[in-house]
Symmetry: C2
Subunit: 196 residues, 2 copies
Amino acid sequence: MAKIITQKNGTRKDVIIQKAAALYKSKSYTAASMRELAESLGVEAPSLYNHIGSKGELLEAICFRTGNRFIDQVRLISEGEESIVQKLEAIIRFHIRMMLENFDEVFVANHEWKHLQEPFLSDFLNIRRTYEKSIIDLIQQGIDRGEIKPLNPYVAVLTILSAVRGLEFWQRNKKNVSQQVLENDMVNHLLNGLTT
Amino acid sequence: MAKIITQKNGTRKDVIIQKAAALYKSKSYTAASMRELAESLGVEAPSLYNHIGSKGELLEAICFRTGNRFIDQVRLISEGEESIVQKLEAIIRFHIRMMLENFDEVFVANHEWKHLQEPFLSDFLNIRRTYEKSIIDLIQQGIDRGEIKPLNPYVAVLTILSAVRGLEFWQRNKKNVSQQVLENDMVNHLLNGLTT
DNA sequence: CCTACCGATCGGTAGG
DNA sequence: CCTACCGATCGGTAGG
């Protein structure tokens, strides 16, 4: 009776997740219906349930897949031998690129996580808290070494991560600003305000 | 047959709007039901419609009331005689205080505007675009006067407004950071990265 | 302000 | 992958 989702269906399921991210982004998770999602895939709604367990499972996949990508990359950067400021720059540039290149999934993870059910909601918030803490620690190290001027590292991380997340409002084609200028100006703005 | 909403009901309606903002913030607009809203006011759902026209009207009230507060205050600051950098500082501090003191309504205006119906949706986006443009112009003036280092003013405004909006993640009581420290550190971070 | 209720739409299941 | 359908819930109205 219970549906067994084999991992071999991964490919088809990935397409569903990808379409769900686009739909949840443009309509919000709650307002997006499974019928709409099915239509964007060219099938009837009940057919989706051969590949997925529930609407909520799609949100979980989007949020945790995206979260893990951030965690893995920042861990990699943190373990390098560069200066703290160089590591921060790499982290900011990584965030900017994630925002621009994986817009749908990052947007949904940023905005719709509150609709996760327990225990996923708590897991997600814990992951995010740990992630932010690792960057806070990096800034505190920078302060201790004299690379960064003394300020509250919580506030600095909030400022940096929020500024980058605001790229969801970036009008891509308009305003003939290249991604290079965007990236450099934002990095300079956020790092010059921080360094000694 | 049509319901006439007299302006004398303003007080009762204001309470409904305020409760709606709190509810839309915590559950999102689409997921919040009129029955829940009614319950938070101690009445049955149909009774709400003696004071309001529709669920959407509440969202409109929240978005436009909040939008107008931002527009009015920034116009006031812009007309002053201070330097550009001083005006920017005043604008940033105003934004921070709005985030902290009118959290529910600002949050809903920031997140749920996409659920506005036309023509309200277009109106809201136009207002927001005009608002951002006025701050962009201010930064361009600062660059022209040599107060601000040359950079793309679109990027700078995006960075500033997004950083401030990120205060929605601020844990008030925790982390024993006073509002004064928060405000000063964020202002310094965002302005030091900008000034010559 | 209430009770009673409507049509629409939702996520999801049964069964093939 | 489909048709047929279920119970729940939605925003809102009628009528008092």
